[in-house]
Every structure is written in C-alpha cells, then in structure tokens.
Amino acid sequence: MALDRLNAVLETFDTFPDPADRTDLLLGYADQFKEVPPEVARRPFPESNHVPQCESDAYIWAIANPDGTLKFHFAVENPSGVSAKALATILDKTLSGLPAEDIATVDNSIVERIFRRNISMGKGMGLMSMVDAVKTLAKKAAGKVIPGG
C-alpha cells in the first residue's frame, strides 16, 4: 500500500496512549529533524514556502524526483518548534519517495492521531496546516511536476 510507512508510524503511536511515552517518541522524531539543505534553499526563505498559521514558522519544499516521486524538505525557524520538527521528520520519513498522487490523499487528521494530548491549543492548527501544505504541494506536483519546488 502506498501509505504503508505512514500507517505504521500511526499504529506505533496508537500503542502509546500514555502522554509521557508519546512525548519521548515525539522528541525522538524531533531530534532526527534535518533542515532543508542549502542546495535547495537558503535564508531568507521565500514566503511562498512558508506554512500559513504555523507559529513554529515552518517552511516546506517538495522536490520532484525523476521517477515522479517527491522529496520533502523542511525548515522550522522557531526554536521552540519541537512539535513542528517532530511532524516534519515523520512526514519526510513516511511520504518522501512516494508518488505525488498518493501523498495528496493524506488527511490532516493524522495530526490528532500522532499528538493526541501532547498537542497544544496553538499548535494544532499550525501542524494541520503543515499537512495541508504537503498535500497542496503534492496536488500541484500531481498536476504538473515542477522541479525545484
């Protein structure tokens, strides 16, 4: 199945109902966060890649691979953007390398499933916006793959 990796991560989170365990899991992902490489984007990052409504000041890029799959890159400018870094890592690990058409089917409700009680009021909308931004880029790419962004 196209979204196997994402579903596996979601199922892993389902097995950790305790917020403290979930915190450790999320921090583990946040620690693996890799910022967008300079060959893709340098500061100041363009507003067109900025995720709206995200207080963590997240940016997203989708690079088209020759085989029609996408590779996602992220930047999180707010030093307190731990949740955004965790989600960015999960999205990259589970969606990069998939065809744009499959990525476009992801629902932003995955945010609730991943974060549950670890989601703060102000973060929820921004994190869902990150998923929406990924979907938007995927839909664009599915219509017409634009190399470099």
Partner: protein
C-alpha cells in the same frame, strides 16, 4: 533592554532577568518553574534545575472548571520541593502567558514569594543559555497552604456583570478581531465553543501583546506601559479593574503587568473569560 530596576515598575521585585536566573541556578532557596502551553517543550530541554508545572494537569481541577484545592496545592508544592520560604520563578512559552497564569494561581494560595522571568523561554533560548533534559528531583516538603482565596485576584461571572453594570474598568486583552466579534477565537487557534462573538460592554480593547517588546518578549518600561494603559486607554490605577481573554491565560499576563508593573491597586483576572461570557444566556454583549 534596560535593567529591570531602571524601568520604573511599581513592584520591580516581581520580575527577574534571564541573567539573574542564570546566576541563581544552584540557589537552594529558588525554585525555577516552567509552565508552557506546548506540553513537549519542557521535555525537549529546560533551564537546569527547573521543574514543570502544567496548567491543565497541575493547576486545574480535573473534574470541575476550577483550580486545585488547598490539598492539591500542598501536594504540588511538596512535589516540587518548595517551602513557604522558597522563591518561585516562573517562565514559559508564548511570551510567558502560562508562566503568568501559574504565577496568578499561586497568588490564590498566597505564595507571594514569586517572580516571573522577563522574556520567558524564548529569550533564554535566543541567548543560547544552557538547557537540559535532566529532570531534577527534590526532597518532598511538608507545605501547609492557606485555603485558596479567590476574592482578591479572581473575578466570577456575577461579579463581572455587576462590575460592568457599574461601568467600572474592564480590559479585553484578546486580538482586535476577537474583540469586534469578527472571530470567536485567537488567530490560528480552534474555536473553543463560544456561541457568540463580541466583547463585554464597556471593555477597552488592549491586546496583551502591547505590554511587551516584540523583539525579545520582555515587558515594556513603566513609562511605556503607562502611556498605553493610562494615557491612551484612560485606565485609572486606583479604580477596580478586571481583565479577561478567552480562558484567562492572556489576561493573566495583563493582570501581571497592571498589578506589579504599573501598581494597579485592585485588579482581578476573569478566568471564565469569553468561553464563559460568550456562552451565557441573556448577558449583554457589544460588537
């Protein structure tokens, strides 16, 4: 930014700088408390020696919409190893919203030996000061609290209604769009269920963020604050004042600024705020 002592505050002792905190990391008479909206932040790294106090699980009653009882506060203080003589220093995310909220709840129990770290977590981070993931443990204390005394610092709906009818000072610290009723929640936040938009009649719109310097989150000087709250908005420091937002967190920030930095004699926080007022039947609303 100028030193806290030079800013002309009514109670400068209520605010400490990041430098001051850095110099007191190993002071046993100090307990540094992080209070955040984002539940991941403390675990991701915090000021060495600081303890986490969560506004939902530690300060709120888990059944009623209310705060913990005397017994709950005693347990909390015991857990963080605080005595009556301990100076508690709050800091947190969101420009210290929740730090001020926790500070305010502590005042309901009369723990006046309390401070807020100016600029909060983001300033500490931007200054690249040390953080750790080590969670400290402190020997439990036998803290005996007084009963929670809401009257001095907290306003309830009937009191707010009477206050409004008497045309006394009300400060709405929400965003302009929330005040006008254009939206019923903060930008980028979910609607938490208010059925009506607008504001309490007579309230003056002074968004909480006007009290801080946007570059580093520190509080403005007393003179700058006075220009906003007293000169521009015509609030009197000697008149009873009630601040509100949506659940009382942003208004805790303004409550702190009015009470400790400008020296307002009688200022209370209406924690029911818009999530209560915007749902009540037959109370007046202005747009």
């Amino acid at each position: 930014m100028s030193s806290i002592e030079s800013r002309g505050y009514a109670h400068p002792e209520a605010l400490v700088s990041t430098e001051w905190v850095a110099a007191h990391l190993n002071d046993p008479s100090i307990r540094i408390i992080e209070s955040n909206e984002d539940t991941l932040l403390y675990a991701s790294g915090h000021i060495p020696g600081s303890v986490n106090v969560d506004w939902t699980s530690d300060l709120n009653d888990q059944l009623r919409r209310d705060y913990i009882t005397k017994e709950g506060f005693e347990q909390l203080m015991s857990r963080i190893g605080a005595t009556k003589d301990t100076t508690v220093v709050f800091y947190g995310d969101k420009n210290n919203w929740w730090a001020c909220y926790a500070f305010w709840v502590f005042q309901l129990f009369g723990h006046t030996n309390a401070r807020v770290m100016d600029g909060g977590r983001i300033k500490w981070e931007k200054e690249k000061r040390p953080v750790t993931r080590d969670v400290p443990t402190y020997a439990k204390t036998n803290y005996i609290s007084s009963e929670r005394a809401d009257a001095k610092h907290r306003a309830f709906r009937d009191e707010v209604l009477a206050h409004m009818q008497a045309k006394r000072q009300l400060v709405d610290v929400r965003s302009p769009d929330e005040f006008s009723g254009a939206r019923m929640h903060m930008p980028d936040y979910p609607n938490e269920g208010a059925l009506r938009g607008g504001h309490i009649p007579g309230a003056k719109s002074i968004p909480w963020a006007r009290a801080i310097n946007p570059d580093d989150g520190t509080f403005k000087t007393a003179e700058e604050l006075r220009k906003i709250y007293v000169e521009e908005k015509q609030l009197s420091a000697s008149q009873p004042t009630i601040a509100y937002c949506r659940i009382g967190e942003r208004s805790s920030h303004t409550w702190f600024a009015l009470k400790y930095l400008l020296g307002f004699d009688n200022v209370r926080n209406y924690d029911g705020s818009w999530t209560e007022w915007g749902n009540m039947v037959n109370v007046p609303i202005e747009k």
